[in-house]
């Protein structure tokens, strides 16, 4: 069944804040197994698109399907890395405890994480190079380390599709490498990954699929076919030139 269905299918999606549309009639098909960047200027609705797909905000029109079914039925297939700045890092908890939160979805209401979940959380921390910080208070972590904890939390969700909201935002070199390695690993495992991305220079290097977004969808498809000055200019509104490697 999976082979036939696109990983993500968005139809006529419109989202508005206080009656002002921030996403306008978005149609988007994301095939299984791609690493996709969503690019666009500030206020283009990139985070909003992810949040609408994940049901965090309600669209005023349109529908979303994950492998052909509504998100609510497919939650367990989806992992999410929110923007690092969206939470209060002074919250009294440790790195491993934050990672454990990734297991809450599969556990469902009331049931607590046990040994199995704890083991998964530690493995995920190891993958992002944060095992030695497992009992560190999250406020005592650097920005990059906090981002890696968020990444580990998504990994324990053990999903088929991952959504990451600006994971490269303000991170150090170690973290950037860790994220890239994870992305590669996820691609190798056949996962679909959607990343809100700001650094246009690195799009061709990190991703094989791209969506240009500015309230409306400008273009979507393979990086090698559509990542060009024409689409960049349409998206960013100015005569945009980017040095595309190769």
């Amino acid at each position: 069944m999976k082979e036939q269905q696109p990983a993500i299918q968005v139809d006529d999606l419109t989202v508005a804040y206080n009656y002002k549309p921030v996403l306008w009639d978005i149609d988007l098909t994301v095939p299984e197994g791609v690493l996709m960047a969503i690019v666009g200027p500030n206020g283009a609705g990139k985070s909003t698109l992810i949040k609408a797909i994940l049901g965090i905000i309600d669209p005023i029109a349109g529908s979303v399907a994950i492998y052909g079914k509504p998100y609510k039925e497919q939650r367990k297939l989806v992992g999410y890395v929110p923007q690092k700045g969206s939470v209060d890092w002074d919250f009294p908890t440790t790195a491993v405890d934050v990672v454990l939160m990734g297991t809450y979805g599969k556990l469902g209401w009331i049931k607590r994480p046990g040994k199995k979940e704890k083991k998964e959380a530690l493995e995920a921390l190891e993958k992002v190079g944060m095992l030695s910080f497992k009992n560190r208070q999250i406020s005592q972590l650097s920005g990059g380390q906090q981002q890696r904890v968020f990444l580990a939390r998504a990994l324990v969700q053990d999903a088929a599709i991952y959504f990451m909201d600006e994971p490269f935002q303000g991170v150090d070199a170690t973290t950037e490498i860790a994220i890239i390695n994870i992305l590669k690993e996820l691609r190798k495992a056949g996962k679909t990954v959607v990343v809100v991305h700001h650094d246009l220079q690195t799009v061709p290097e990190y991703f094989d699929w791209v969506t240009f977004l500015n309230v409306k969808k400008i273009a979507t498809g393979p990086v090698k076919d559509i990542f060009n000055d024409d689409n960049l200019t349409k998206t960013y509104g100015i005569n945009y030139k980017v040095a595309i490697n190769k």
């Binding site: 965090i56 999410y80 908890t93 809450y104 209401w109 607590r112 150090d172 170690t174």
Partner: protein, 386 residues
């Protein structure tokens, strides 16, 4: 101790524990002011409930008042969502309006009901033991102890069942929603528990002091721990300590029990604010001073590293060369010497091997911000603790 004395302390402690638990989540959600709003705006609910039941401890009254509490939250959110005013303004608009409806209702019916504004604002624990729970003539103890006991039990059961849900929805509402743990349900659940708790505690401690019982223990615990479970435990502990110390200071001072409890909480918070190991004022000031010294130390070591010429490294000239600010040069030189980072021969300062290694490592950290290399230095130097 007489029996009423024990009963009053017991009621005070149960009230304090019941308030402390939702208080922790209100503080972490930055919603402390909402408890203030609820505590005032439940008044019309209490008054109407009292007209109907003529019993402050009636379940109907508690439910009516709790509904007014939820209504407060809904109204605040509705006004806020217009985008015309901010949350604090919305709170400031809603609760005085509801509270004044309650005040007018009391004033208009003052002859019929035994309820006055003073008691509403401050409560009176001392009278609590007089209102007994009698079933078939058998005395089961003070009614308010039963009411608050049931409220506390509900709170504890919900906390135990939904601890993980409360945690994730408080820390990261976006993820919580994506995982299918609706932050909206958790929000209104917490608001309901807070409302019921405030209504239950109302008679004992009044509308103003109940806020202190909810917020002060949690705020104090927040300064002392970075573990949610410990924060809950400490909040409960502070609540109980305040209940018992508050009772006895009221006894000695011949003053209001609830007022004394709140004063004790205030003193506990003040002491914690000053002396908490990591977040306390004194610790923060000490750390800042230490950091200034260490920045000066690194500046000093870098200077030594950069200059081979003797006149640049002479102890008498160092002061002007480095242009020390705020930290006395002697402190820095002593610190460096104590750590075997420098040697002084005939007034000329030289880096030791250890000093050189330290300088290079510190420099690399400052440039690359790569944490793992300086892990072992974190215990000795504040600068690297982040």
């Amino acid at each position: 101790m007489t029996e009423p004395q024990i009963e009053i302390q017991l009621i005070a402690a149960v009230v304090a524990i019941a308030c402390a638990i939702p208080g922790v989540f209100l503080v972490l959600r930055k919603m402390a002011l909402i408890s203030d709003a609820i505590s005032h705006s439940i008044l019309p609910g209490i008054v109407i409930g009292f007209f109907i039941t003529h019993d402050l401890n009636s379940p109907l009254l508690i439910i009516l008042a709790a509904i007014t509490g939820i209504l407060t939250v809904v109204l605040v959110e509705a006004i806020q969502s217009t985008g015309l005013v901010k949350e604090d303004t919305a709170i400031g608009l809603v609760f005085p309006a509801l509270f004044s409806v309650g005040v007018i209702l009391i004033a208009k019916n003052a002859n019929d009901v035994h309820l006055d504004v003073d008691a509403v604002l401050l409560g009176e624990l001392a009278f609590a033991p007089f209102d007994r729970l009698l079933i078939d003539g058998i005395d089961f103890g003070p009614k308010s102890l039963w009411v608050m006991g049931v409220v506390l039990l509900i709170s504890l059961v919900l906390l135990f069942l939904f601890f993980k849900e409360l945690k994730v929805s408080t820390f990261d509402a976006g993820l919580s929603s994506a995982l299918g743990i609706s932050p909206i349900i958790m929000h209104y659940g917490l608001m309901s528990v807070s409302s019921i708790t405030i209504v239950g505690a109302f008679e004992a401690v009044g509308a103003i002091l109940v806020v202190a019982l909810m917020i002060a223990p949690a705020a104090t615990a927040y300064l002392l721990t970075e573990d949610l479970k410990k924060m809950l435990g400490l909040s409960v502990l502070f609540g109980v300590v305040a209940a018992i110390l508050g009772y006895w200071s009221a006894h000695w001072l011949d003053a209001s029990i609830s007022g004394s409890m709140t004063t004790v909480l205030g003193i506990i918070f003040l002491l914690t604010y000053l002396f908490a190991p990591r977040k306390g004022l004194i610790s923060v000031l000490y750390r800042q001073r230490q950091q200034r010294t260490e920045v000066s130390l690194i500046t000093f070591l870098l200077h030594l590293n950069n200059h081979q010429e003797k006149e640049e490294r002479h102890i008498n000239h160092l002061q002007e060369h480095i242009n020390w600010q705020r930290v006395r040069s002697k402190t820095v030189v002593d610190l460096a010497e104590r750590n075997n980072m420098i040697t002084i021969e005939e007034g000329v300062v030289s880096l030791t091997k250890k000093g050189l290694e330290f300088t290079e490592l510190a420099l690399e950290y400052i440039i690359t911000n790569r944490d793992e290399k300086i892990e072992h230095m974190k215990d000795d130097f504040f600068l690297f603790r982040g």
